[in-house]
């Protein structure tokens, strides 16, 4: 049970960070933290079920790919927002039309 416990703590910290941090880049990092926690659980699941379930590893690999894509788009959005409002603080983004 060690790894799921670690992953749970990481997930909780990530969720807290997503809710409270003001800098978009820091929020992105916290989302990655949560995805990483999910990956840890997937790999632990694969280990639990032995060679028949290499699926856990495949899922984790796919999640890593999707997380990379998410970061690329997220940072592009952060830069686009920064260009409009000169800030990446979430509570400065309060315009419906830039």
């Amino acid at each position: 049970m060690t790894v799921p416990a670690i992953a749970m703590v990481l997930f909780a910290l990530g969720a807290y960070g997503v809710a409270t941090r003001r800098n978009i880049i820091n929020v992105l990092m916290c989302i990655e933290l949560m995805m990483n926690a999910a990956n840890l659980n997937l790999v632990f699941f694969a280990r639990l079920h032995g060679a028949a379930a290499g699926s856990g590893n495949v899922f984790a690999a796919l999640v890593i790919a999707v997380a990379a894509a998410e970061t690329a788009v997220g940072l592009a959005l952060a830069l686009a927002v920064y260009r409009q409002v000169r800030s990446v603080m979430t509570d400065d983004i309060n315009l419906l039309k830039g």
Partner: protein, 166 residues
């Protein structure tokens, strides 16, 4: 406690300590560095669980790619060049309640999934197993992920270029 368990606890402790810095740190650059530490410790956890391929991929993709992207983002959104980027938190009570609620929903699920079974020794984590699965059972998911990556790359360029003044 066996040596393998001790290793898991040590790596997990590093990951959690660094994650605390990511979530509560005041300097964004240090947060990114702590984020790197979380990822490296997670790679260590993958390796300790026998998924050597994922450990390598984690270091390549996250530490080599995502963290560098984060650093670029930090650099390009700094309000004054050279000065440390200060970050802070708001709504910490609401955030704590939300995070605790979300986690509390996960605990019974995880307990049901992982509670009874004990880890087995044999592991399907090597590159050969993952590669075979990716081109057989999960070929469609693999292709779809490739398409998602392509779409993300194009979307990133489009979003960045659109706001540019010609």
């Amino acid at each position: 406690m066996s040596a393998a368990d001790a290793l898991l606890y040590a790596l997990g402790g590093v990951a959690i300590a660094a994650a605390i810095v990511v979530v509560f740190g005041r300097n964004l650059l240090y947060n990114v560095m702590a984020f790197t530490a979380v990822l490296v410790a997670s790679a260590g956890l993958f390796a300790a669980m026998g998924s050597d391929f994922l450990a390598i991929v984690q270091v390549f993709v996250y530490v080599g790619g995502v963290v560098v992207l984060m650093l670029f983002g930090l650099m390009m959104t700094a309000s004054e060049p050279g000065a440390p980027v200060r970050v802070d938190s708001r709504q910490s009570v609401v955030g704590a309640v939300a995070a605790a609620g979300l986690t509390a929903m996960l605990v019974p699920l995880l307990a049901r999934l992982f509670g009874a079974a004990a880890p087995r020794a044999e592991v399907g984590g090597s590159a050969a197993v993952i590669g075979t699965l990716l081109i057989t059972d999960y070929a469609l998911a693999f292709e779809a992920t490739g398409f998602v990556l392509l779409a993300a790359a194009v979307a990133g360029i489009v979003i960045i270029r659109r706001g540019e003044t010609p």
